[in-house]
Amino acid sequence: MHRRSFLQSAASIAAVSASPLFGRRARAQGKNVLRMGFADEVLTLDPIKTVYGPDILIQGIMFSRLLRASADRKQLFPGLAASHEISEDGKTYTFKLADAKFSDGSPITAEDVAFSYTRMRFQKDSAYAGPFTALEKTEAVDSKTVVMHLNKKFTPFIQNVEIWNSGIVPKAAVEQLGDDKFAQTPVSSGPFRLVEWKKGDRVILEKNPNYYRPGLPYLDGIEILYVPDDNTRVSMLRAGEIDMLLGAPYQLISQLAAEGFQATPEPSSIINELLINHSTEPFNNIQVRQAVSLGIDRQAIADAVTLGLGKPASSLMAPVLNYFNTDLPVPVRDVAKAKELLAQAGKPNLSFDLLISAGLAAEERTAVLIQSQLAEVGVTANITKVDSTQEWNSLVDGTYQATLNWWYNETPDPDIALRWAIWGAGENKSYYTRYNSDKVNELLEQGAAAPEGDGRKAIYYEAQKIAYEEVAQIGLFYPPYRNVYSPKVKDMKLNPGLQFSTIDEVKLEG
């Protein structure tokens, strides 16, 4: 090619590409497609393989469970099971299945339910079998009847059958495809089924025509877009490229609300806390724990980090959970008392390492506030920033003194929550704090077996009170979810257990 003609053609290509007249969005998007912006990427579509946030959300949308939760998760309705019965001794659960089909048109049978539960409970790489340890055996009695045998009376069980990882998967498809392939191209039982998973970009779902709830879902489809950058996610919402986003920066929430977006913070079951290692100095001393707890101003931290949207913590579980102990006050900061306790403990010049994840702005802000508040008590907190997975490894190995962390709870029942947070007999040793109170451990076993009512309430109140008095951990604040929806989106809500439990009833208008 002659050089000049090369330059000319290059120039004309540049001119054409600069023109905005070309191509107004060629992608065929049914107008009823909800586009969601996630900060983290979906990694697997097999509900038993993960406890990772974005996976939990999409799996909850794709796989129906035996029971179905209301939008706020407070009530349970019949799901794939039309009815259920619990035996007198509380150890046998019988579920009668509704007429339902998988997204490939095959019927959902008792065999599939037994397969799904056995897989989730007993397959070795099932990531979250913990809530189902009481389940010994699941069997299909006939094509519509499933019986589950527990090894003990376990009241929370009926709520646990709504947890996302107990979603029903088709036995035939899993066996035919194998686990790895099924995780990429699953057959679903929920309101939406997979069209295409463009890794690193988006997951495209369409309405499942075989969904068991008649006339639902209202949406034609859902696209879940992976948008790691906070500012870009907000810009996309403003430009109408997504219809909702998860996790808006706190400082933008009121502004987005003023622009007409639905930005009311939704209650979550998240608690942010300071985890302390009971197995080593200095937090193996109760006076030190009490002193540090009294030295921290929870309200100030909640105000600074969540800009007033979060509430200071009293108990070690979130207030949306059942049997949350409302009698426990938020500890009031008392510098003099804290100094006195430290003097009694013989540690007037206490210092400890506070491990935090590098790069998380909210965590860094919290750490700096704790550091300055404790400095007035005469305690030195040395902030050490590490990679988040390294923080986890230190937590698991018990090679830390104090660290910031947070968690949420799937069910409104406090069983899973308190077993996660303060059950020293569990695999995670009270959230890796090594807090171990025989009394609390015993209470949690009693609570799990007790029937709903005042007796059960008293047990859980007592367990929370002991952990509060012994300062098992230092709860800091209860943050809300920070999801923002376009005004077109109707009836969409993330429940406190991190599920869009009524996604099949969500509409797009206008």
């Binding site: 969005r25 790691p228 870009t232 997975t389």
Partner: protein, 312 residues
């Protein structure tokens, strides 16, 4: 054709380069603190599930053995499986390759167009107001960080004027050109000043060279001298520089891809590092390395083709 012979032997040099790169990335990745399995399963996953997945990917083996397996597999063109995506590395990378290549090419086409236009405008009358304006643009363009510039372009062209989308890639060629315009422009604004300064300076020097004076003295028009003689003779240094800029950009699309949410290799790399997805990090690094070597190879060929005096 023998002046090309040496150039054509260049790909052979790729082999030791790639072995070195694979060893260095493997060691660096292993030195990164953290645990990929815990990230991908989520912190609340049971210890047993974490142990099993770790074993499945051979992460419980001694490091030297892991490297041995890795090299043997790479020689068989098997780059391993992504830990996070549970899919072959090569598939994950190929899915991301097209957006990055499109973005790079688009950005470079814009940069070259801007560079040629601005340099010519500036060099025709050195010191005139056009030249000064171009210089001002160059200084400003060099000083603006890409993430900030990208955000400003989004606010102006996407949110206010609604001419271009904030994010994404697109399906057809016009759609891709439309989606990638702002990210490509961001790249162009960063790259153009570097190239323009170089090309303008060469143009000015060459305009005063003996052959230009000789041309003018035999009565050729200023335009003819400039475009027929000065301009082609000034291109070579800028093309060499362009090669360096491209090599730099191959690894440098990270910021632009993140701001505009383009599902490309840069974004994949950041994600893989955060997730400790060892095999993706290694795979992407190898791809980047090949890209850099290929770029210098292409520049060599172009240089030899354009300038008969060059003998390598």
């Amino acid at each position: 054709m023998d002046r090309f012979a040496f150039v054509l032997r260049r790909p052979l040099q790729l082999v030791p380069v790639l072995i070195g790169i694979s060893l260095v990335t493997f060691i660096l990745v292993q030195l990164m603190p953290g645990d990929p399995v815990r990230v991908m399963l989520g912190p609340r996953a049971s210890e047993e599930a974490i142990r099993i997945v770790r074993a499945r990917y051979g992460l419980d083996q001694p490091i030297l053995l892991q490297y041995g397996y890795y090299i043997v597999n790479v020689l068989r063109a098997d780059f391993g499986r992504s830990l996070a995506f549970r899919a072959p590395v090569i598939d994950v990378i190929l899915a991301r390759l097209v957006p990055t290549v499109c973005l790079l090419v688009y950005g470079l086409v814009l940069s070259v167009a801007f560079t040629v236009a601005l340099s010519i405008a500036a060099a025709r009358r050195p010191g005139a107001w056009v030249d000064q304006t171009v210089r001002l643009f160059c200084v400003a363009g060099l000083g603006l960080p890409s993430f900030w510039l990208g955000l400003m372009l989004i606010m102006l062209f996407s949110l206010r004027l609604k001419l271009f989308p904030v994010s994404g890639f697109g399906d057809s060629l016009p759609d891709v050109l439309w989606h990638l315009f702002l990210p490509a422009l961001t790249i162009a604004i960063a790259v153009t000043p570097i190239l323009t300064r170089n090309l303008r300076a060469t143009l000015v020097t060459q305009s005063a060279a003996d052959y230009a004076v000789a041309g003018r003295s035999k009565g050729l028009s200023e335009n003819y001298v400039f475009f027929r003689h000065v301009f082609p003779n000034s291109l070579l240094p800028t093309i060499s520089l362009l090669g360096i800029v491209v090599s730099f950009l191959i690894g440098g699309t990270v910021v632009v891809e993140t701001v505009f949410n383009v599902p490309g290799m840069g974004q994949l790399m950041v994600r893989a590092v955060l997730l400790r997805d060892y095999f993706i990090v290694q795979g992407v690094t190898l791809f980047f390395a090949v890209g850099v070597v290929l770029t210098s190879f292409v520049v060599d060929i172009v240089t030899v083709a354009l300038d008969p005096r060059v003998k390598l």
